[in-house]
Symmetry: C2
Amino acid sequence: MLPPLVLDRNSPVPLHFQVSQHLEQVITSGQIPPGTLFTSEIELGERLGVSRPTMRRAMQQLVDKGLVVRRRGIGTRVVRPKVKRPMELTSLFDDLKSGGQSPTTQVLALEEIDSDEALAAKLEVKPGEPVVRVVRLRSAAGRPIAKMTNYLPTGLVDFDAETLEEQGLYALLRARGVQMHMATQVVGARQATASESRLLDEPRGSALLTMERTTYDDHGTVVEYGSHVYAASRYTFETSLMRS
Amino acid sequence: MLPPLVLDRNSPVPLHFQVSQHLEQVITSGQIPPGTLFTSEIELGERLGVSRPTMRRAMQQLVDKGLVVRRRGIGTRVVRPKVKRPMELTSLFDDLKSGGQSPTTQVLALEEIDSDEALAAKLEVKPGEPVVRVVRLRSAAGRPIAKMTNYLPTGLVDFDAETLEEQGLYALLRARGVQMHMATQVVGARQATASESRLLDEPRGSALLTMERTTYDDHGTVVEYGSHVYAASRYTFETSLMRS
DNA sequence: CAGTGGTCTAGACCACACC
DNA sequence: GTGTGGTCTAGACCACTGT
């Protein structure tokens, strides 16, 4: 029923993760169709050569990803995939890229400025402290789709506009070892101003999606604050929510 | 350092949950300020009289809620609370209510209709099958804030308009034993139509936030499909995202 | 070095669903 | 009953951090 799996017990990758990765691949590749009842975790653990707690941990990760449901007395069942992935801790650049589109970026500004009171509060730095301001125009399929304004602590920025046009801000931060861990977002809407209409190639007064996001690393330090506007006629946010 | 906790080992509530609930209460009440280093999980477990795996499980739940961060070799540290709650599996009614506002609801329609092809696909029923359509106007602080259109399988609806104006759709479903487990949402924006402007007491052409949501129970069955519009000048969605 | 959290194991008892 | 997942325990080894 299940393709064999060879575990590498000397790998730094935890066993439970190796197991769940394997099962996830098996499920998403369609080798086990939705509705199928899994072999019990006990037998599965024996077959793979891991203990029951380890097996359970792997299973729990599949539950968290919405790939299976478990019911006491019944078993573990593969569900039809319903989860939409986006609006995670990824950037618009990543979203478009993995969506098959070809995003391009134009850096409109990349400069150091002195933070005013409001901005300093957002970034949790001292008022007046210099921060970096980045303004970018993101396009997909040849049309502008979003104007993105980001503010970052000066220490995190050591790239130039050219690099930024190729890689996406989040990818660059990650490559520099920044571990983004959490973000809070506020999504709203408003009408486009005249300049926004021109920039995004939209009719005057058309609706824009707005998003403000503050991103933190795993110490709780602010990594970035962004204020973005999207052409609502061509972009939406998709999310999945799971009960706790 | 920690207030004492008496565990009820005969309670159906799992020990790990009793522990994590207690610790969460201690943290959110401010008895342990942000930045504090916790006692080690071993000593904490001994003190509370639970095994280390149980203690770890309780701790992990605090991590999942973004209340603490754990670092190997260092310890467990309380972080400043950053998580915003809403946009979970709750309804606008619940959101407003817990936000201290006093929401009111006006039921504009509550009727059984025959589903067309598109709607049947959304609800995963046979085309032509009757479904229930609910249209409501939600107000807060005396002003309209959202027009909400929902479609549900006929079997789930046994309430009347009056009940619906008092309780909120999600609360009613929950009270009837429906276990909502997952939802997928698409958030967008567009300009208000003439009738929407009138209904929501907004200027013509103003921006609306739109949200389409499909909710599933834990079997993966569709519970509800909703298409809502919000007056963007008075409502936003707030979310927290955590790196898996 | 000592202390922390991260991983893994072996075994036990329980609640629940189905036969 | 039998088999499932849910909970809990006791103990072990490891990787990492600070001194």
